[in-house]
């Protein structure tokens, strides 16, 4: 039984026992989001639209020579118009279907751009296609207040900034302006889907620009490691942002926290490899001004968000301890002349400490999502460490047998514990 269904049943019982009035019961139920069933319909419709849209783009990409040009163009223009018109017709009666059709109309616009480029063998600057697609979809989000086209335009904006690969002031200002518009729309609707998409795009934008600026100022061949440090700083800042009052709407706090955890996890995982330790080591001789500006911004914004009001200072220090240690460790590694091996060991330890802190925090808050994410990260990290350290030490047959046994036994034990803990929380919540 879903949370909302359970609440509805309970409030009906309270009304029956005359604890609360029918109106109050309605007010209580209205405070909570609808059941998963309704969300499942939305997710299925969106997945359907994405599959259909990808199929249409790939169908045209196969460049079927038997179709004349005018028929190909017609095959894009007619569905584009039809999807938008049917979206309008369904708008009041079937809002979810209408939103999906609107998304399909926007995908058809993009398909049209690529199809015409294909028909006329246009080899113009590739990211311009993404920019035009974004500019065509954004008005649908802006004027019709449609969340799915907004999510699509957020992703297109991210793809554009990464593909454009430019650190020119014009590109940066243009991207910042578009991000401001997309963030404004995301908060004014408010749309959790669009928020997740725009957060991912914005982080990709920051990582790309810092990387390009570092590349322009240094002759180092491999600056890929900087991307992961930037991702870690952004991921950690996102988890702090989840607590800001402005994000206490819809599912925004959860989206911030989950994207923050996932981005931090990916960054820490990548940072456990040797090339990042090498990057840290060589970084001492580089011009890292752009990176330090981001570091200071992320650190001060994070500190401000964590300690905005002084109440419960000790509890807040405890809550943010791992993050503060992480900031400090990165700072030390960036300036102290330590050996490559010491950097690698520290980064690997940092990865495990972080995974454990996510598990503990999930346990304390009785939050099954964080708890599961933490356990998943811990399992991935352990497997990687096993591969990194024992691949050369053990005979290959023994390596796979032991690795397989550790994974099966460890995985089932962890899964058993995870289910047990989550089940005990559910029992407390439902009062069984």
């Amino acid at each position: 039984m879903g949370r909302a269904s359970w609440l509805k049943k309970e409030t009906d019982l309270w009304v029956e026992k005359e604890i609360i009035s029918r109106e109050q019961a309605g007010q209580i139920v209205a405070l909570y989001p609808q059941d998963n069933k309704n969300r499942l319909i939305s997710i299925l419709l969106i997945l359907g639209a994405i599959l259909l849209g990808a199929g249409i783009i790939l169908f045209f990409a196969s460049n079927w020579q038997y179709l004349p040009k005018w028929l190909k163009v017609g095959l894009v223009i007619v569905p584009l118009i039809s999807f938008h018109i049917s979206s309008q017709l369904m708008h009041s009666k079937y809002p979810k279907l209408s939103a999906t059709l609107s998304l399909l109309g926007c995908i058809m616009f993009g398909a049209g751009i690529w199809l015409i480029a294909q028909i006329y063998h246009i080899n113009a600057h590739f990211p311009n296609g993404l920019l035009f697609w974004f500019l065509g979809v954004l008005p649908v989000a802006f004027f019709l207040r449609e969340p799915l086209p907004l999510s699509l335009s957020s992703l297109l904006l991210g793809f554009w900034v990464v593909a454009e690969r430019s650190s020119s002031p014009a590109t940066i200002f243009m991207a910042l302006f578009f991000f401001a518009v997309v963030f404004y729309l995301t908060y004014s609707m408010p749309s959790p889907f669009a928020l997740a998409a725009v957060i991912i795009s914005a982080v990709a934008f920051v990582a790309t620009e810092i990387f390009l600026i570092l590349e322009n100022n240094n002759n180092a061949s491999d600056l890929a490691f900087s991307v992961f440090i930037v991702l870690l700083l952004c991921g950690q800042l996102l988890t702090r942002l989840s607590r800001h009052p402005v994000n206490q709407i819809s599912y925004f706090a959860v989206i911030f926290e989950i994207t923050g955890i996932i981005i931090s996890g990916i960054a820490l995982f990548a940072m456990s490899f040797e090339f990042v330790a090498r990057g840290f080591y060589e970084m001492h001789n580089m011009n890292m001004a752009a990176f330090w500006i981001l570091y200071l911004l992320a650190a001060s914004a994070g500190l401000y968000l964590a300690f905005r009001d002084r109440a419960g200072l000790i509890a807040k220090v405890k809550e943010n301890l791992v993050w503060m240690v992480m900031l400090l460790v990165i700072f030390i590694l960036l300036i102290a002349p330590v050996s490559k091996m010491a950097i690698m060991i520290t980064l690997n330890l940092l990865m495990f400490v972080w995974a454990l802190s996510v598990i503990i925090s999930g346990y304390q808050k009785q939050n099954s999502v964080y708890f599961t994410l933490g356990i998943f990260a811990f399992l991935i990290f352990t497997t990687t460490e096993y591969f990194n350290f024992f691949w050369q030490m053990l005979p290959k047959s023994l390596f796979f047998i032991v690795g397989g046994l550790v994974l099966i036994v460890g995985g089932s034990l962890l899964e058993h514990q995870r289910r047990k803990v989550i089940h005990s929380w559910e029992e407390v919540v439902t009062g069984l």
Partner: protein, 168 residues
């Protein structure tokens, strides 16, 4: 303004944008001078547009000693707009001059707009926006095996170019 009216305006603008893409290319296709260029192919794949043959023309690399070079500031970085004057030799059209302002043409000449990607001290490396030829799936590999290909391009009076067809 009503939602339906807003939607009609947006969809109208989206369709107009797509038709203007077609319109610009059709203008060049129907009013342009046919120009035969020699090229050599390689075979990549594009996620949105499918399989294509990437073309490198003889006019993609112009040695400044072999043409009339009207570009004063060469520089090495950045993409700059350039006008390349083409003239028909025996079978193919060849470059005779390069400049950054619109050139004055003699009889039997056209100019094509391109971008200088870089100057390596000896030659200009240019792109003209006609470096991709999209083919049905599986065709790219066959074309790749050919050492050289002829491409018929249309160049309009503004220097815009579009591929008309591949001449095997």
């Amino acid at each position: 303004m009503k939602r339906s009216l807003k939607l009609v305006i947006i969809v109208f603008l989206q369709v107009i944008f797509l038709f203007s893409m077609i319109g610009f290319k059709n203008f060049t296709m129907y009013t342009g001078t046919p120009v035969l260029l020699k090229t050599s192919p390689v075979d990549p794949w594009d996620i949105f547009r499918g399989e294509y043959v990437s073309l490198s023309y003889e006019i993609s690399r112009l040695e400044s000693s072999k043409i009339k070079d009207n570009i004063a500031k060469k520089g090495s970085a950045g993409s700059k707009l350039a006008y390349v004057v083409l003239e028909k030799k025996e079978k193919y059209w060849d470059a005779v001059s390069i400049s950054q302002s619109k050139p004055v043409l003699s009889n039997g000449q056209v100019y094509i707009k391109g971008r200088v990607m870089y100057y390596d001290g000896k030659a200009y490396n240019l792109t003209y926006g006609i470096e991709s030829y999209y083919v049905p799936e599986g065709e790219g590999v066959k074309l790749e095996r050919q050492a050289s290909l002829d491409i018929l391009v249309r160049v309009d009076r503004f220097g815009n170019s579009v591929i008309e067809r591949l001449v095997k």
